[in-house]
């Protein structure tokens, strides 16, 4: 095993609470009607290309990408389009969505290989792979939902030296990537090979936090058993520290290179891809399967049966909560994603999407008392910041709407990991103010650049 590495500055160590780590992935049955939101990626929502009454097959394209950082949307089931309307997403906003009345039998679109057989031979070339990734609507499934094909398109004059697989899963509670690594080890490794071929490199590094020793050992064993097949892939254990899975942090930890401020990771010759996305790429390239399902961890200390479920997109989250033993009493926080970077939800019947890595149910005790007191200038936030920023200062100037100061103090470098707010003894919502400042400062910078 390689020696454990980590990023040098900042970071915190929240309780890990990987409650569902030993729960095998279960297939979750689809409900009668599924609601597929058209905006499932970071960019603009996809354009709907089906209309009411259309019969759609599983895997059929129903929404085409609109704009650069947008991704295609496919039908996760076979059935008839009941309507194209709006649906309330987890934030309570209404977003466009396709309602599909499902038929019992899954009927896949043509060209999809439905067997579970492991295909190791990569037939496509680099460009074909990227096109396939794009067609299949694959996005970063760690939560940010940035379209993966954009990452893989290495700009001219740059060279991708490493494919880094982000298997850190530094978010507490979540175990979906860990379970995938254990259960689909070979498929995952072929996925890494595909990525390496896509960007023309012979180095692939899988970064995993050392609290997932089982996965590290299994991966190393598999790689050693098939040396020729997985040549160039390495497993790099990382220290269990949040935010180890931050893109910039994992590059720094593994290669020692720092992504320059305001630049993309490709500047350091690295392309970072999430575990679930890697598996999705395997499915897309080898089996021609578009992205229509993912693993969702349903967890929480008071949840009866924390579990990892394979869910087709569009399944309402409250059904998943039922499957995990129902909604426990006194739940005050329902979170879409992990506790550090996930989003609070207003309603529990929002549809699962490409970025839904987990559904976390917490009581007030788990979330901790949030009574706000005065800043005592202890500087813990600055110590915890992995980006070397001064959150207390950014909070203050953002509150005063002094956006020249926020920019001068590198607010745009904030990765919104939440380490500062986590560690703050005065419970100040530092990140709220920083996000506000970041949005405003970003708008000012964009307006200035346009001139």
């Amino acid at each position: 095993m390689n020696p454990i590495k980590t990023f040098p500055r900042g970071g915190v160590h929240p309780e890990e609470n990987k409650l569902s780590a030993n729960q095998p992935i279960q297939d979750f049955p689809m409900p009668k009607q599924i609601i597929v939101p058209l905006g499932q990626c970071l960019g603009a929502p996809a354009d709907c290309i089906v209309k009411k009454g259309d019969r759609v097959l599983t895997g059929q394209l129903i929404g085409t990408a609109k704009g650069f950082v947008s991704a295609n949307v496919h039908s996760p089931a076979t059935g008839t389009v009941a309507k194209v309307d709006v649906v309330m997403d987890h934030t309570g906003y209404y977003k466009p969505a396709v309602f599909i009345d499902r038929e019992e039998q899954d009927e896949w679109v043509e060209g999809v290989i439905q067997t579970d057989e492991l295909l190791t031979e990569i037939k496509l070339d680099s460009k074909q792979i990227i096109d396939r990734v794009k067609d299949c609507g694959i996005v970063g499934m760690g939560g940010a939902t940035f379209p993966t094909h954009v990452k893989l398109m290495v700009p001219e004059g740059k060279k991708a030296e490493y494919i880094i697989i982000n298997a850190a899963e530094c978010e507490p509670y979540l175990t979906c990537d860990f379970r995938l690594l254990l259960e689909k080890t070979q498929e995952f490794l072929v996925g890494v090979k595909i990525l390496m071929k896509a960007v023309n490199t012979d180095k692939g590094i899988i970064g995993i936090e050392e609290n997932k020793m089982e996965a590290i050992e299994l991966l190393e064993k598999t790689i050693n058993a098939h040396r020729d097949l997985y040549k160039g892939i390495e497993v790099q254990p990382l220290k269990t520290k949040y935010p180890q899975g931050g893109e910039k942090q994992i590059i720094k930890a593994i290669t020692g290179r720092e992504v320059p401020s305001g630049k993309l990771p490709i500047e350091t010759g690295c392309v970072v891809v999430n575990v679930a996305s890697t598996y999705a790429i395997y499915e897309a390239v080898q089996k021609n399967k578009p992205l229509i399902e993912r693993i969702v961890t349903v967890t929480g200390k008071s949840v009866k049966k924390p579990c990892n479920l394979r869910v087709r997109f569009g399944t309402p989250a409250n059904l998943l909560i039922e499957a995990a033993g129902g909604l426990p009493e006194n739940i005050t926080d329902v979170i879409n994603g992990g506790p550090m970077m996930g989003k609070s939800v207003s309603v529990t019947d929002f549809p699962c999407m490409k970025g839904t890595s987990g559904i976390l149910l917490m009581t007030l005790d788990e979330a901790q008392d949030r009574r706000q007191t005065n800043c005592i200038r202890c500087g813990r936030c600055a110590k915890a910041c992995p980006m070397g920023l001064q959150p207390f200062l950014l909070h203050k100037v953002a509150k005063l709407n002094d956006f020249d100061e926020t920019e001068a103090n590198h607010i745009m470098d904030c990765i919104e990991c939440g380490s500062c707010e986590f560690t703050c003894p005065a419970n100040i919502p530092l990140l709220d103010y920083i996000r506000y400042g970041k949005a405003k400062t970003g708008a000012i910078i964009r307006a200035r650049n346009q001139k």
Binding site: G92, K343, D432, Y436, A439
Partner: protein, 312 residues
């Protein structure tokens, strides 16, 4: 003893004198020649530097006025929203367009009673941030978040959050209609409208353009886009913006007919006398149509007294 005193006095006195002379010459040397009209024009402006005119402050507007007056001979297009520009024009020896006093209007009535909270917000008291996080405590994604970005930005102390309703209330005595609040509302709920004749105005107190069914889910007084008001209006002053009725202040004659037909009580009429069949303001109204005794509507009416007319 007296010697010390005298010497100190003399030294300090002479020092003061020398410095005064130096200061005088320096001031002469670095004097900036400015058109005295700018000062005069600035004196006509409120001096609050609210930025509502689009300039950095009142002096910047005054400078622009003087400049344009010298170059083009008019001050068209330059206006302080809170002041009669006629005064400035008079200073510059010109005439300005007629001044129409304006006031900020909060187009949301989703108070704690009308749109009860379904979730509980904890975090920074910034509407612009909360807007990125969720739809709102009541669930309406176009409604007021009640965290008071407008209140914080108001330069005239004309807005405050009503603790009972959780909504911002405009103080008609203090509001000059500069529009800073409207610019800073992340949901565009606040609109600057003309105060209207006798300070009477009618507007739709809702900003939700969603379909009626979605509005009803979250709010008991939101506009559902039924278009009854549109059909009722004799002046074609009402138009639909999505599923939201909008009363064009330029065409509205403040007859108040739409107020009575609205099934949701979304249309508010301000500074009208209490609804009696014989009121002169509602002359054209048929007595058959019973005025809707919506509690919040009456509240608004009694809250603002008719005498409240602020025209500069």
């Amino acid at each position: 003893m007296s010697n010390t005193l005298l010497i100190s006095l003399a030294v300090l006195g002479i020092l003061g004198g020398i410095l005064a002379v130096i200061l005088y010459f320096v001031a002469q040397k670095f004097k900036v020649e400015e058109n005295p009209l700018i000062d005069e024009a600035e004196a006509c402006l409120p001096g609050a530097n609210c930025g509502g005119c689009g300039f950095a402050g009142c002096r910047a507007l005054a400078e622009a006025c003087v400049k344009q007056a010298a170059e083009k001979g008019n001050i068209d297009g330059l206006a302080c929203p809170g002041t009669d520009m006629g005064k400035v024009a008079a200073v510059l020896g010109l005439t300005a367009a007629a001044f129409e006093p304006k006031i900020a209007v909060v187009r949301c009535n989703g108070s704690c009673q009308n749109s009860p909270a379904k979730v509980h917000y904890e975090g920074a008291d910034i509407c612009a941030f909360a807007n990125t996080l969720y739809a709102g405590e009541g669930g309406c994604s176009k409604g007021c978040l009640g965290l008071g970005d407008c209140v914080k930005k108001c330069n005239f102390d004309a807005l405050h959050i009503d603790k009972e309703t959780g909504l911002p209330v405009v103080d008609p005595d203090k509001c000059v209609g500069c529009g800073v609040c409207a610019k800073n509302c992340p949901r565009g709920i606040i609109e600057v409208r003309p105060r209207g004749k006798k300070d009477r105005r009618v507007y739709v107190c809702c900003s939700n353009t969603d379909k009626g069914a979605l509005v009803i889910k979250n709010c008991s007084v939101g506009c559902i886009g039924c278009q009854k008001c549109l059909k009722e209006c004799p002046f074609e002053a009402i138009e639909m913006r999505g599923n939201l009725a909008y009363i064009d202040p330029a065409k509205c004659k403040a007859c108040g007919k739409c107020v009575k037909v609205c099934p949701r009580g979304s249309i508010h009429a301000i500074n009208f006398p209490a609804p009696k069949p014989e009121t002169p303001a509602l002359q054209g109204a048929e007595p058959v149509v019973k005025p809707q005794p919506k509690p919040e509507l009456v509240e608004v009416k009694t809250e603002v007294k008719p005498e409240n007319t602020v025209t500069a």
